[in-house]
């Protein structure tokens, strides 16, 4: 099960909240986490 890199929770791959960054898909537990990620993905991926 993937992990929401913003809040650290486990999420299902079927979640509607996802983003692509550098060719990789990131999954989020809610819209808020996705918005946070999109503001500056680098903050969460390294």
């Amino acid at each position: 099960m993937p992990i929401d890199v913003v809040c650290g929770m486990k999420v299902k791959e079927s979640t509607p909240f996802k983003s692509n960054y550098n060719g990789k898909t990131y999954y989020f537990c809610n819209e808020h986490c996705k918005i946070e990620f999109d503001k500056n993905p680098l903050k969460y991926v390294r």
């Binding site: 992990i3 913003v6 809040c7 650290g8 929770m9 999420v11 503001k39 500056n40 680098l42 903050k43």
Partner: protein, 694 residues
């Protein structure tokens, strides 16, 4: 997936074990976690009762089993029966919470500690009961009521110690809520004072707070002047002067004057409640370092049950093969020992307690950690970017000098200016008004007051026309006071550099952290501040949106960036940075951006919060390492790894030793976490002496 706020384990939202408090839903892995959360004191009392029953019956079982001969009971079967009768209350009364938790664990299809304990103790109990009633059906078997009872007793003892220690760690946050007085003095429309319960207060009410009383709600002072002790919020011991127009927070203490306050927020929305909630939320926050624990927890229960089965089956096959008479007993004991020694809780607890303790310590020192996951990132930060205005410099200007014209002294000029500036919220106006109060000058009643934005303020005082003209500049401001078209004095103000800026920046540079300043002001003003503070990298004339681009550029070059700025105006930069540290505006913590808020605006707390993050992340790693090491080492021991050394007889005491180890393992994680506070304090006290403000 949400986490259990008590033990930190993941719980599906579909669980029936949930509680709604103040509009927030909390999910729990077990009934005991839920009860610990909803009524901790009552739960502790119940636990104590169960514990007393467990100890007072387990000890006699132990004595009967090992020290009393069978003939005292007229036969071994009666001896077994006596132990069975004593074991029943321990098994089903003291052990009840475990079954309850196990039931929910099965329903949610997520294993928990309760499930393991239930399987372990029931196996030993049922096996022993079977031997008691059908002594000849299993060849040369004995009973293990001592094991089943002691497992429950030991684990309950461990839970009890863990609860008491946790309660201690949680106390300082709860102390915050006790700062709200129960009774408030409401000022009626006709001016009469009525004592009401604080929860009856509503926004818009006027209240009176007498000297020595705690302030019951957030609000704005509309009459009176007094010093207010805000140390409970800011950690700052010097009281701050509050007067008309100033914000006061609930829970702070009015020291020496009468204040009349217009209530702006009550109950859950007050600053003190928001701080309490943030600290509580820390426990369910997740640092990135905890992810390794999550992976471990997910696989844990199935791996443990499989290990227990493998070890039971191994001993059954091996011992029956060599014709050892007690092969079935040993197989059962090996199974029970492995199940009981495994402790998923220690892994679950590794993060939450450490985060709770560090959040508590931070808040006591005027630092609010809004986002615990930023602590991981803070440990990596190697560049700190400071905003200039309001961050490195004071948000309100200071009066540097007053030049007077003939016939007027400084106090005259200040008194006329302050009598008009009292009507304005401009930072320069606030500064002039406060200086007048500081000098005990009498404010004169003014009429027909009119503020002209960008110019100043004018009005009539004692029949004369007074105008105050403000000439604002980023670094310094000049105010002209004119009485009936005649200039009577000039007040010079400047935005002073915060006293805490120099020691902080010097120390950060010593720590190897690169320091940068951004500002919307001119290069000349930027250089003035940078030179005083020893900052070599500056970006001037930057628009607010440009700040976030500068941060991103540094991040692209591999830097981990913390941005320190104003919680309202620098919101984007605070969010883009790896860690956003906001200077507090003092009135609405919930609305302010940033991962960390410096409530007392003392920049030295940046160093403290870095120490807190370093020590907290270290402690979580240590706890996770300890918990994983504990399970990785002791599960094989419980399975019989040491039989070649101590012989097969070791299984007689292994289940009890396993229960002892398991009971102590969560407590030791909690106790180890409590040491965190001392570690942080020690390091901070060592560094703080070198950061003194001259």
């Amino acid at each position: 997936m949400p986490t259990d706020p008590v033990c930190g384990m993941y719980v599906p939202e579909t669980t029936e074990l949930k509680t709604v408090i103040d509009g927030n839903t909390y999910y729990f892995c077990s009934r005991s976690c839920q009860q610990k959360f909803t009524s901790p004191v009552e739960e502790l009392k119940k636990l104590k009762k169960r514990l007393i029953v467990a100890w007072s019956l387990s000890l006699p079982i132990f004595i009967i089993n090992y020290f009393l001969p069978s003939n005292l009971f007229h036969g071994i079967q009666n001896k077994y029966l006596a132990m069975l009768l004593l074991a029943i209350p321990v098994q089903f009364y003291s052990g009840f919470p475990f079954y309850h938790g196990a039931y929910h664990s099965l329903r949610n299809k997520i294993g928990n500690m309760d499930l393991l304990i239930s399987i372990g103790t029931l196996t030993a109990f049922i096996f022993s009961a079977f031997v008691t009633f059908y002594p000849h059906s299993i060849h040369s078997s004995s009973v293990y009521f001592d094991a089943s009872s002691f497992i429950i007793t030991m684990i309950l003892t461990g839970n009890y110690i863990e609860n008491i220690t946790k309660e201690k760690a949680d106390n300082s946050a709860r102390k915050l809520l006790s700062l709200i007085p129960q009774i408030s003095h409401l000022i009626d429309e006709d001016g009469s004072i009525l004592d009401v319960h604080t929860e009856e207060l509503a926004s818009g009410n006027n209240i009176l707070v007498k000297p020595g009383e705690l302030i019951p709600a957030d609000g704005i002072v509309y009459e009176g002047i007094s010093e207010v002790d805000e140390s409970m919020l800011t950690g700052e011991q010097t009281p701050s002067l509050k007067t008309t127009g100033d914000f006061v927070s609930s829970g702070t203490k009015n020291l020496n004057g009468i204040l009349k306050i217009k209530v702006s927020k009550t109950g859950k929305n007050t600053t003190i409640n928001q701080i309490y909630e943030l600290i509580q939320r820390a426990i369910s926050g997740r640092a990135k370092v905890q992810r390794i624990a999550d992976v471990f927890s997910a696989l844990f229960i199935p791996v443990v049950i499989a290990s227990a089965l493998i070890s039971g089956i191994f001993w059954y096959l091996y011992l029956s093969h060599i014709n050892y008479p007690y092969y079935l007993d040993i197989a059962v004991l090996a199974f029970v020992s492995v199940i009981v020694i495994a402790c998923p809780c220690a892994i679950g607890l590794a993060g939450p307690i450490a985060l709770l303790i560090s959040s508590n310590y931070a808040s006591e020192n005027g630092i609010l950690i809004k986002n615990t996951s930023s602590l991981d990132r803070l440990t990596k930060v190697n560049r700190i970017i400071f905003d200039k205005s309001g961050t490195l410099t004071e948000p309100e200007p200071n009066i540097e000098k007053i030049v007077t014209k003939e016939g007027f002294n400084e106090d005259d000029v200040l008194k006329f200016a302050a009598s008009l500036e009292i009507f304005s919220n401009h930072p320069v106006a606030r500064s002039i008004f406060k200086q007048a109060l500081h000098r005990n000058l009498q404010i004169i009643e003014a009429k027909n007051v009119k503020e002209i934005p960008g110019v100043g303020i004018e009005g009539e005082i004692q029949g004369s026309r007074i105008s105050v003209k403000r000439k604002i500049d980023p670094s310094s401001s000049e105010v002209l006071v004119i009485l009936d078209d005649r200039l009577i004095g000039e007040i010079y103000l400047s935005y002073r550099i915060r006293e805490s800026a120099f020691p902080t920046i010097t120390h950060l540079k010593r720590m190897g952290i690169k320091v940068t300043m951004v500002t919307g002001d001119s290069e000349i003003e930027a250089k003035r501040v940078a030179e005083v503070l020893g900052i070599d990298k500056i970006h001037s004339r930057v628009l607010p949106e440009g700040k976030s681009q500068i941060i991103k550029n540094y991040q692209m070059n591999g830097d981990y960036v913390a941005f320190v700025g104003d919680g309202i105006n620098d919101a984007i930069a605070l969010e883009v940075a790896d860690v956003g540290i906001a200077m507090s505006s003092g009135s609405d913590i919930a609305k302010e951006s940033g991962d960390i808020i410096l409530v007392n605006n003392d920049l030295r707390n940046i160093i403290l919060v870095r120490i807190i993050s370093d020590k907290t992340i270290d402690k979580i790693k240590q706890n996770i390492g300890w918990a994983i090491g504990y399970n990785a080492f002791l599960i094989p021991v419980a399975g019989g790894l040491l039989v070649p050394v101590f012989g097969i007889g070791i299984f007689q005491i292994l289940p009890i030793l396993a229960a002892f180890a398991m009971g102590m393992s969560s407590s030791s994680v909690v106790i180890n976490s409590i040491m965190l506070r001392r570690n942080i304090e020690k390091k901070w006290n060592h560094i703080k002496s070198g950061l003194d403000i001259a």
